[in-house]
């Protein structure tokens, strides 16, 4: 098909995904958005959440591949989407125990933050990340 998007998911360790898909959902910092072929150029930070690739090469029509990502940003061009993320995992790779621990750690940070706004922001970030991980790990099991 002509109107397909090239998607690349890049982490510090490697290029995790490099394929063409029909659409991709990206967890922007201000909320999820979906990108189709021909989208206007856009640059955004991403928050903790899931990148969903629809109709990728590997799965064929109607398939969804999900990756739990956090901390990064995305560049959208009409025919190409590049996602830079510090962490990216498949839902089945997520260690729920570790994520749970992270959540508790975040809650602890939150409680200890006192009146420092930086610390609050940091704690919220940690918790959001952990929650996103747990969510996508849980969704994978159903």
């Amino acid at each position: 098909m002509a109107d397909q998007l090239k998607v690349r998911l890049v982490t510090p360790d490697r290029i995790l995904v490099d394929q063409t898909v029909e659409a991709v959902e990206v967890p922007g910092k201000n909320g999820y958005f979906e990108v189709l072929y021909g989208a206007a150029p856009l640059l955004s930070e991403i928050g903790a959440g899931e990148v969903r690739l629809h109709g990728g090469e590997a799965g064929g029509q109607g398939s969804v591949q999900r990756y739990s990502v956090a901390r990064g940003f995305v560049e959208v061009l009409p025919d190409r989407v590049t996602i830079l993320a510090e962490t990216a995992q498949k839902p089945e790779e997520i260690d729920s125990g570790a994520a749970q621990e992270q959540l508790q750690h975040g809650q602890k940070l939150w409680n200890e933050a006192g009146e420092d706004p930086d610390k609050y922001a940091h704690a919220n970030e940690v918790m959001a990340e952990a929650e996103a991980k747990l969510e996508s790990a849980g969704a994978g099991k159903h």
Binding site: P12, D13, R14, K29, P41, L42, L43, S44, F73, L77
Partner: protein, 358 residues
Amino acid sequence: MANVLDLRRRIRSVRNTRQITKAMKMVSAAKLRRAQERAVSARPYASMLASVLESLKRRAEIYDPETGECRHPLLLTRPEKRILLVVVSGDKGFAGAFNTNIFKAAANFIAENGDKEIDIEAIGRKGRDLFRRRYPAAQFSEATEETQRPERTRASQVEVLAGPTGVLEKIHYDTIRDVSDEIIALYTHEEIDAAYLVYNEFKSVIQQRVVVERVLPILSLTVHEVERAEEPTLEERERAAEAALSAGVSLYPHEAEAAEKQLEDEAKNFGTAEVDYIYEQPPQEIFADVLPRYVTSQIYHATLESIAAEHAARMTAMDSATNNASDMIDSLTLTMNRVRQAAITKEIIEIVSGAAAI
């Protein structure tokens, strides 16, 4: 003269040593290959990060139009009075001059900046051990409600910070991020005026050097700011090349990889397309968020290269050791044969002269 039995025993012992060094060399070669791969696959991320920053720089108003002041704390330059020196060394020895070279570069840097206050943060066990012996540890008082940051009482010009432990055993981006977050916090709280990185740069087995690089303040985004570098001698290179050849490691791993090249070019163009992007967040905000990541990626990159360089150095050192052991076995075997020959000759003489006497 030593007797045959002693010599035979020694030969056996040297042979055992050679076995061990040979095995270590092969292990290092395998690890080197893996480390090289990691270093290469980490490149797209780093260059994409750099290029997106470069393009944002044009759009984000870094400098205040009215006062001309820099808006982001990591770009601010201050007169260098307090310096943080991050030394990336190895966790283990048996790597030839690898650790020594790094310490030499670090010591030179400290000597040159003798009038400034220097903090050392060591990544890698060897470096930590050495600097702990040489310099006192930094003393901090507990953070209080009012000050937020722990207070510091400085006792000496050069002090060692409690660096991270066990980073190199299993390198992970998250641990490096913690390190760089700490460095950035120090910088933004104006507890240091500059941060330098000493590490072993690794381009290929024969192309590596010890470099001192500035991480903070960030003055330029595309070029690494190498303060100075120490190249290996020609002889050392030849030794390394020989070792690599015998271990089956390619000398130029990144050549003739057109796909790789293309990817890198694309990475460089990341975020720089000549179109007007829609920015979800204000460019300044993205810029401010990306800058610390750039620092992290720089340190991560340095650590990966240092690991590869360490394995390469160990491989070379172990190859030399194996060759030396072989030489030693040869010369010992020669001596042993001579001694045996001498003993036989002596016995024959005795028998002959005994027979003649009858």
